[in-house]
């Protein structure tokens, strides 16, 4: 199989290069892209990428495969490269630390901005803050995010304004806490998102929904945030 691999070593390289590699894949079974990376690394230990759980739970191995973001461990080679040539590059829009490893600081900073924790200023009950099954239901499709950054780095609005636009991952979590019946900071959370960039830079192109390995829908959450802002503003 033909593989095109993005390489960059900050200690020796002025700028990134693309290596064309040839790899013999075992016959008769479809590997995951992460398996291909492991085979490549066995031949050249200097190749750098992040990985941990190898089953789509930890969110470490988000990379760009043939122009599309996804988790290497759960993306079959046949799906990533239907025409036979596999192109592996780091997630777009973030500074490259080395090879397929990107600096996620900007992504985490946006996540931090939306205060991803429960805020409740009432006195805590003796045991726990209860929630009705209906209210708990509202968090489905929101809490499952693994912060792999596939969505935000597939989003042009995030490429152009990574410091100002919160991005789909952060906004999905923003809505996760706005929708939580136990959270009492709704007004403050909304006020922090009301500017022209944080949430309103979303143009609804749904690149985030297209690539999310968990099948989540940040665009829908963003629409809900806008509706909340609107009803609060009127």
């Amino acid at each position: 199989m033909q593989i095109s691999l993005y390489r960059f070593d900050p200690d020796t390289d002025e700028s990134p290069r693309t290596d064309s590699l040839e790899l013999d894949l075992p016959e008769g079974r479809d590997l995951m892209v992460l398996d291909v990376l492991e085979l490549l690394k066995a031949e050249d230990p200097s190749i750098a990428y992040r990985r941990s759980c190898r089953e789509g739970v930890c969110g470490s191995d988000g990379i760009n495969m043939n122009g599309r973001n996804g988790l290497a461990c759960i993306t079959p080679v046949s799906e990533a490269a239907p025409r036979g040539k596999l192109t592996l590059r780091p997630l777009p829009g973030l500074p490259v630390v080395r090879d397929l490893v990107v600096d996620m600081s900007q992504f985490y900073r946006q996540y931090e901005k939306i205060k991803p924790w429960l805020v409740n200023d009432t006195a805590p009950p003796a045991r726990e803050r209860l929630q009705s099954p209906e209210d708990r239901e509202k968090l489905n499709g929101l809490y499952e995010c693994i912060l792999c950054a596939c969505c935000s780095t597939a989003c042009p609005s995030f490429w152009w304004n990574p410091d100002k636009f919160v991005g789909p991952a952060g906004l999905l979590q923003a809505y996760r806490f706005l929708a939580d019946s136990r959270d009492t900071a709704t007004a403050e959370r909304l006020a922090a998102l009301e500017d022209p960039f944080s949430v309103f830079r979303c143009r609804g192109i749904m690149n985030c929904v297209s690539v999310c390995p968990k099948g989540l829908n940040p665009t829908r959450a963003i629409g809900k945030i806008r509706s909340m802002l609107l009803s609060q503003g009127i």
């Binding site: 760009n64 192109t87 997630l91 777009p92 490259v96 609804g204 629409g223």
Partner: protein
Amino acid sequence: MHPDRPVNLPLPRLAAAMPVTAIASFLHRVTGIVLFAGTLFLCYVLDLALADEAGFERAAAIIEAPPGALATWAILTSLAYHVVAGVKHLLLDFHVGDSLRAAKIGAWLTIALAVLAAVGLAVWLW
């Protein structure tokens, strides 16, 4: 932070892998820019046509000549696309069509309607 590090952002490569929903949104933007520039032409033609009979004849001649006809066609096609895409956007604001499947259908529908308008306008103008 690594501000001096390279950033992987090969736009043509990424654009080629983008879903139709992204293409439709980009066309919404492109047609908006065409309309913004084209409004200058529209102002000029309106000014001419409303001045007097001679001006109206000149305005009509400009629109019928190939460059003017092409500009008119581009502006009206862009208008058709921009309006349809705008309606799609308004529906999305009301949470209509916010699943990926519905958005893809909406994007194809927008493009199809605009192509229909483009062909219809071409027939009407020539």
